[in-house]
Amino acid sequence: MSEIPYDRVKLARDSKRPTGLDYIRRIFKNFIEFHGDRRYGDDPAVVGGIARLDGCPVTVIAIEKGHTAKERTARNFGAPHPEGYRKALRLMRQAEKFGRPVICFVDTSGAYCGIGAEERGQGQAIAENLMEMSTLCVPIISILIGEGGSGGALALAVADRVWMLENAVYSVISPEGCASILWKDAAQAETAAQSLKLTAEDAKRFGVIERILTEDDLGTVMFYDRIRRMLHDEIEELTGDLDLIQHRYDRFRRIGRDAIETGAQ
């Protein structure tokens, strides 16, 4: 595990790293994919459907980057359009209706920045997910498996538990974007990565995630089996939480309190 944040960024982006679909196929059984947002289209950057986790039906949603050049192009490099977020929300509402837990795998450099995406309300699509996920009546667990790029990642991570792979990153802006805005020089991305505090340890320190998943056995049978067991136990615990939505609210409500000084009123 590298101590240099920018090395983590590079690892998080590595095309050989397991992608969302790898997790879905190796952790769950009987995955059945459901397509489309019922509004406009089907976004290949977001994969969703139902599957069994140790026999129990769950809703799974993943941002998929693809491995090969061809796959990555077809998946738009894991940069979702509004339809991807709306498909995710449709599947989450379906999960709520049928009482299934939701498990999201997040891996994106960010929501796609394009003309069509703007025309079809990229901001509104993300905003709606943030709002609706905050009161979804079933447990939500989100795992950041690679890049957690800003609002485009958060739109699938308003969850009861958020976990991060140890080399995943989670940030409000890409280090390159940050460097070019602040110092007009994208080459300073390394410095920006350091300043942005985007590693799993940082996220844990800020109370943004609950758990860091080690990667020594990344991609092996043991690795997926470990995550399966963790998900199983966590879902059992969350299903027993009678005040799930309040706890989810509190989870986000307290973030940032340390960043504020309150003088005498």
Partner: protein, 283 residues
Amino acid sequence: MALLNFLKPKNKLEEGGRAAAPIQSDAGEPEKNCPNCHKDIPLSRLWSNLLVCPCGYHFRMKARQRLHVMTDRNSFMELYLQMRTVNPLDFPGYGEKLHTASAASSEEEAVICGTAKIGGLSCCVFAMESQFMMGSMGGVVGEKITSLFEYATEHRMPVIGFTVSGGARMQEGLVSLMQMAKVSGAVKRHSDAGLLYIAVLTDPTTGGVTASFAMEADITLAEPGATVGFAGARVIEQTTKKSLPKEFQKSEFVLAHGFIDHIVSRKEQKQLLTELLEMHNGG
């Protein structure tokens, strides 16, 4: 002339237009060049017209000026005055930046929250400040707006919010990002309680603010010609290698695509807000 005095900037940094600083005309009165009609407009005329050029171009307005003209006289009571940002990430240069922003805007943060009356009806109101780090949202902005929605839910009041923002504040990293979820949770509770939220999008409303509370209102209004979008135009051009049409991401364009209810000029906003509040039984 109390109103004019109030609107008159105390210093150069407060002038707040989307164009160059005013220039002294031959006649001696300061003027401002309108980037739309390219005419030099005397500042006094602009101020008496709520910083709207006779051609219809809306100059940016400071949050406090906006609250002054949109709420009933002496009705605004500010909340959460004492919240101050620390530097949670120890981000290089952020401390100085906050200091500069504070001096430039005469505000302590990028949003002002409180209670007020509009047309005699009580409401919670927030206005964002473009001169404070382009209205960016960090921990304090998130905390203030969240607290305001919680207050409004508790006291069963409507919320009216004037947005202007470059998005989440980079210098607070994940803390900023999480404010999007935090505010959205509070907006949802307010909404689920059957209460009214009206957003007025002003130039520019972008990034993480568009992707959260700017797009979560029951009624979404916008000023004419305001930039409203998620990604910045430059980023989109770089990503797509396409040049963008002139009207791209203007409020009229966003309305045509179905994401804004109504575009309303600044002079008509108070009356419309009053009417909307009344039609919702005061919210």
